[in-house]
Point group: C2
Chain length 383, copies 2
Amino acid sequence: MTLSKEQSLGANSVGIVTPQTMQIDTPLLLECGVSLPSHSLVYETYGELNAKKTNAILICHALSGHHHAAGFHANDEKSEGWWNELIGPDKPIDSNRFFIVCTNNIGGCHGSSGPTSINPETGEQYGPDFPIITVEDWVSSQALFSDQLGIETWAAVIGGSLGGMQAMEWSTRFPNRLKHAIIIASSPKLSAQNIAFNEVARQAIMRDPEFYEGRYFDHDAKPVNGLRVARMLGHITYLSDDMMAEKFGRDLQNRTLIDFSYDAEFAVESYLRYQGDRFADQFDANTYLLMTKALDYYDPAKAHNENLREALATAKADFLVMSFTSDWRFNPERSREIVKALQDNKLNVSYAEIDAPQGHDAFLMQIDDYIDVFQSYMNKVAV
Amino acid sequence: MTLSKEQSLGANSVGIVTPQTMQIDTPLLLECGVSLPSHSLVYETYGELNAKKTNAILICHALSGHHHAAGFHANDEKSEGWWNELIGPDKPIDSNRFFIVCTNNIGGCHGSSGPTSINPETGEQYGPDFPIITVEDWVSSQALFSDQLGIETWAAVIGGSLGGMQAMEWSTRFPNRLKHAIIIASSPKLSAQNIAFNEVARQAIMRDPEFYEGRYFDHDAKPVNGLRVARMLGHITYLSDDMMAEKFGRDLQNRTLIDFSYDAEFAVESYLRYQGDRFADQFDANTYLLMTKALDYYDPAKAHNENLREALATAKADFLVMSFTSDWRFNPERSREIVKALQDNKLNVSYAEIDAPQGHDAFLMQIDDYIDVFQSYMNKVAV
């Protein structure tokens, strides 16, 4: 007997999901000064909205993420959602209890308005003309989306990394529209080193001759090599030194001796090349540039004389902040800064520093302590 | 009155120096199996060799280094040697007391036999046909060089980073030919993360369309963009997160507000672009590839069942090992592994872990504690 895909996905999967698209015709004034007369967001939902609309959860994605957070797309066995480990029946973000919503942010390349979509004013692809987007803009767009979806108040807004910045921004901009904010492996702003890594990635893309100042699609080209280098570099920062040591060490790839060549001799080289190739195949270069800029720009304390407590003073939600000991991209110290600023505002904050070797990517993984903390906090959210 | 350059260089400079070239006609069998029938090394010397030839110091350079370690070249004010802070009259490596020698390693691009030199067998530039070189090969070449220079025993062999690996290799391969080995900011082998960074740099270069499989010179081209990205990335790993925060923070470059563009808005972006441009202008891409491979391959414990103590068992020299607290490229833990293995061999080892925020690059800098330790150890070497 052959199992159907839904059966084989097991009891704790949301199963086959279908993305939807919402057209938003309210103009959106962006931080850069440009106004988008209309925009569309592609999104997915898992679980059922209850009658009082009190069980809605908004998931905010990170740099290379999108709306497909859980389950699988029909006819694509490899299409597992990026947070499938955390979202589903009886998982921390439990689709039996919550109505879970995840949008692809504007500027993205998975169906929402962005560089790959058509500029209604010109009838042509935006490409590099799509305005540079900020975390603040994403939250503005998500708020319009919430209005139209009929969600006045989110039970929780949840995000990891760049997604955590969106959850933080929601808590201060729309304090009455969320009960809980869950900020995972995130930071109140990027360090010089973080910006530096983003800049190397951008330069790799922008100096690729196939980039054509962002108009590669007009030349039937794609800056594949630049994207590849950008992703390889990104991957190093997502993993910890220890995790790389454990996962690859100095193991050789399909050989017992070094062969004095520039092939992928070490396993870690082979892994990075694979990750780079896969990403370059799928992702849009202009979107990658935009996303890194949104990261670089986010700095809510800046307008408050570098005082993060003041920047977060309008927040009313309860908070769960989580970090991972081996995360050197956004190390626990950055999460503790957020916790301190929230506590100084006399807000309810739970903080968990998870002892995990997986580095920044830990937030995507099924790690026992992480799952436990997440699950018990979500029990509180469900009340 | 206008000061002459030597006067303006101050009393603690070795002044104007002139590189020399040594032709070595003894065949050199490389680790990769290729034999170089002859090769040449460009080198500089500072100070005078004493009658008994007991005051000679060999300096081994790192990834992008060369023979010009101290002083200045005539008619080039900007030509300060890369270790000018440490080498000179009354400096730790004192040219009043020692005869100091620094070669450009084979595979380099500053005058020694390497990818940019002419293959005597073909009459054409080697380019990518120059064999891949190892730390072991460099030490073999330096030993032939020492023979020809008439130095039987070095008072000390000294190196930082990749140079430290050469000093370590000298101590085990030619235990009777050096009295002291000084290993700074180094490691007994690269970690998976170290290799990963090197691989990203290599891929940036090799996937640059101007690379032409290493034959760019035949196409009047140069993989400038790849070299640029490689160097920008390297720079991040040479500096510490804290140092970057202190040096640049989130300061903007020549503007008070972000301007929503892909220009170098943040000071750290501007700095990295400058470093990348300067390097890409001066350095040969094939050499950069070779040097990173030499780093990746070095692993003396591998042939001894991963036992570093056994790998170092033949050493007889006295050792000074130094590391820097903020160095995350080769963190102090890696130096402590070397120290432990040397101590287990009952060798005399001094170890200093210098508290310094400058990251890996600290080994090139004039840092008080570092200078003090170095100077007092060199007093011991001078005896």
